[in-house]
Symmetry: C2
Subunit: 553 residues, 2 copies
């Protein structure tokens, strides 16, 4: 059975769920031995440990090695990866792309699905790799770096398949000519890819944020060069190795997918971005380099997810404790290092109405602060939520931010059992007036948030929407018992191009973005110029070549 | 009945035909009194004449008037149009766009369909307007400027509708939680437009080439500013006036659609292209200004159709006369001023095999030359095919081109009955060696073509594909009786991103591109960065805003 036939049911379910946007997951998120095999956890850890301190085996053309990753949990990985110059990699990619471009839609899509399936089987290895590059806790690294990322990859394959199969392979075009014979043309169409696709990954979600682009480009016939963040190479190196095996098995040149590793002190990204042989670029990372990429890329086809300042507007609630607990979790999860984590919590100066009676501004701020303390009261539980801090600069930013407002809840260390040198920081919460926009109006990446005092909810919504338009936002959140306020916020945040969550109090958080249902990023504000999970994300990765032939009379 | 319901059947047929790509036309191409009304022809001409020498009535904000169109048939139109500055127009457009953005998909699409229907009723007026701006013959102006353009507009509406309705309005997302209650979120999505859309038209096909962009942008909720070529304002002014009436009737601010006219000696396009309030740009025109637009636009979202040099490869034929006649017509139609007209005809030095026995290179060239003479032998028939030459520069180019090779068939005047001052030029055909690439390797817009002598068909295909990659091409054509050659050409031209027609000998020509079936432009070579008629052309004109709300327990 072909790869395509083997995975056809999964693909069809993915295509239909992308349209219904109801709940579904192809790859189980439970890190369970019953699903992944009783020894999977131990095997994954052993496989990870066996990689440490060694050259990573990857059979690709290279002119040297790079790689200086250190775990945020305090261990040096000591892994190096084969790498090379933009000119040589782009040429190898272009060459390999010829055969890939000529393959059928089903052959390419089948290969993509098989890659995802095999990556899924390595989810425990991936969990270790993601944990020790991003600083995510083990459980989060398993889920977000494993099955959730795989679901996002599958989603991109589903969109690509759906989009490509909208173009019929053939048609008989018969134009009536009054009483005469019709003019008949036999027409054929084929998908032609753009060429070499460059995917630049980020340090915090190397797989989740890159799989959509990698699989969208592969499925539509492009060859792909993956340039991971120098701090998080391993998860993508493992992914590329698995993928190359499948590509080769299917009879294609494995250079259809290449990994280019680099070091922070010897970066290669700019060489690739400006290489005229690169047909399109996907970038996830900070807005500084993001805008450089947009402005300097040799190609006009650039998809970015950059960053933003995500707002929460608190107007009123009928579950004050649930609200505070929910917000506390959102601020704590992965120490605020998610692109979907909130930064600014807008609360009226006059306080809010709640099921526990009126709460003043200070009481709301304190409620969130103590919910964080409660959530993180148990150190092991805290470590499982917070993880570690990916980047030294983020840790320094937390310290510097303490001067920006009145400290509602201070940041502190968050020890991780077994990792004495882990770089950690629990959430810092500051109270501030809305006038101090120089503080809250900039992105403060990491576990830093502001409770921002506004005149009223109208001002809260206005300022939150305004900062979204100016600096970008991927998520917004609202708490209100008033349907009129909810409608106003829905309008304002839709216009600002940000996804809005309302009255989250239970086990679902504004940070979470579910594959097949939640569109991730809108492309309609500075947080990114594209949505990672819609038709536009794939439709322009290929073009359509036409052939028509007059039928002999 | 709403506009949407009134036109629903037409829309659904358009959507399904875009997927089957079989023959269909919504708007009849026959300039027949039985279809358009017995007095339609006379009414259209009278309405056109009544416009001459007067200010064009268009109730839109303006700070002055522009317009100096002269007919290629030798009469000055003397019509002026209200116009204004980029700042004021962009602001008026932005403001009007707010209500338009908030309308339902059905309301907007219904308005677009009604506009097309009303424009269709004015097809005879449009024929006169297109004829006396572009220089097309009356019949071509009727068809290409009228029903064919309307079909292309409908096609864009169909793609937009299909694309927007792939996003569900609502979904219940219910995630199982083992034995506990599922987490349930009520989700909603809405289409959010990009904002102000600028459409820059061309002088040769003001409606056909601009309707796809205008209707794709309008349907997806954007407000649109139309900037016609200063030489062909009237057809778009009539379109905008009809559209504004419908928009107003439907209860929207008519400034959702604005016309900005300018004069060649006082151009306004650059002001609009660089205005930061413009969210996207569609450009049709020459590559010089096209590349300026791509490089200087304030927005990254730019769709262009520029120009190219379209090749014909002649390898062999079993209908020599039919082939020569077909090529002759393609070279003659609208005096070679179509973006789909061939320029270079590659023929092997050793000649070709035909049903009439072997034909030498010179015999093939002569065959095409005499087929042109025959086609244009009757002056009235000639005028109906050739029309007039839109631009003085094109006429001068024909004269200058005579030195570029051996004249196979010389260009000459082509008088038009009733228009003594018409600017005309019949096709110039030159024979040339493939080595003289400085001659054939550049775009020579107008009735100028080269019969290019190559070593063999392999070289013909290679050079034709190569020039396509370098300079762009929208169409390619092949004559061959050898399926292997056809397959090789199909591969080569698909890789070069150009639509290929094979063995056209009857009443269908390489220049023709049929709505709902032929993709126009691929976006995969320098002839343009977008296809005017695919999903990617509409999918990025809007974004998706998400709203999710936790269901109360």
């Amino acid at each position: 059975m072909s790869f395509f036939e083997a995975h056809r049911a999964m693909l069809e379910r993915a295509v239909s769920t992308c349209r219904s946007r109801t709940y579904w997951s192809a790859f189980p998120e439970a890190a369970s031995g019953k699903i992944y095999g009783e020894t999977a956890k131990a095997d994954g850890e052993a496989a990870f440990k066996a990689m440490l301190g060694k050259p990573f085996e990857l059979d690709q053309p290279a002119q040297g090695r790079a790689g200086k990753e250190t775990s945020p949990y305090g261990i040096a990985l000591g892994i190096t990866y084969p790498t090379g110059s933009a000119d040589s990699f782009v040429e190898a990619s272009r060459k390999a792309g010829e055969g890939w471009a000529a393959a059928s839609i089903e052959d390419r899509v089948g290969v993509c699905l098989e890659i995802l399936q095999r990556i899924n089987r390595q989810s425990f290895l991936m969990a270790n790799a993601v944990m020790h590059t991003t600083g995510q806790s083990f459980m989060m690294a398993f889920q977000a770096g494993g099955p959730h990322a795989q679901d996002r990859g599958l989603e991109a394959v589903a969109y690509a398949y759906d989009e490509m199969t909208r173009v019929p392979g053939t048609a008989e075009w018969s134009k009536p000519q009054g009483k005469g014979d019709p003019i008949v043309l036999d027409k054929q169409w084929r998908i032609i890819p753009r060429g070499v696709s460059l995917v630049i990954g980020c340090a915090t979600f190397p797989t989740w944020n890159s799989y959509p682009a990698i699989f969208a480009s592969l499925a539509t016939g492009n060859s792909v060069i993956v340039k991971p963040h120098p701090g998080a190479i391993l998860p993508l190196a493992i992914s590329v190795r698995i993928a190359r095996d499948v590509i080769k098995e299917a009879g294609f040149d494995p250079n259809v997918l290449l990994l280019v590793a680099d070091d922070a002190d010897k970066p290669l990204a700019k060489d690739f971005v400006t290489n005229p042989g690169v047909a399109m670029i996907d970038f996830t990372g900070g807005p500084a380099f993001g805008s450089w990429v947009r402005e300097n890329a040799a190609t006009d086809l650039v998809f970015t997810e950059e960053a933003g300042i995500n707002p929460i507007v608190i107007d009123s609630t009928n579950d004050f404790r649930g609200m505070c607990a929910n917000v506390a979790f959102s601020l704590s999860l992965y120490s605020g290092q998610m692109c979907t984590a909130p930064q600014n919590i807008f609360v009226p100066a006059g306080g809010i109405a709640t099921n526990d009676g009126p709460k003043s501004f200070d009481e709301v701020a304190a409620g969130i602060g103590s919910a964080i303390d409660k959530l993180l009261g148990d150190p092991d539980r805290a470590a499982g939520i917070l993880g570690a801090v990916q980047n030294e600069a983020t840790a320094a930013r937390v310290v510097a931010a303490r001067k920006l407002g009145r400290i509602v809840r201070d940041s502190g260390p968050a020890p991780v059992t077994g990792f004495n040198d882990a770089r950690t920081a629990s959430p810092l919460v500051l109270a501030i007036d809305v006038a101090d926009e120089s503080a809250w109006g900039e992105e403060r990446f990491g576990p830093i948030s502001f409770v921002v005092k506004t005149a009223n909810t109208v001002e809260s919504i206005a300022r939150a929407a305004e900062s979204t338009k100016r600096k970008g936002a991927i998520t917004a959140s609202l708490y209100s018992t008033d349907d009129k306020v909810i409608d106003q916020a829905a309008d304002a945040f839709a216009r600002a191009g940000v996804a809005l969550s309302v009255n989250l109090t239970g086990g679902i958080y504004v940070n979470q973005s579910a594959a097949f249902s939640d569109y991730h990023v809108t492309g309609a504000n500075p947080a990114g110029n594209a949505c990672l999970t819609d038709a536009a994300f794939v439709a322009n990765r290929f073009r359509i070549a036409s052939f028509r032939r007059q039928r002999a009379a």
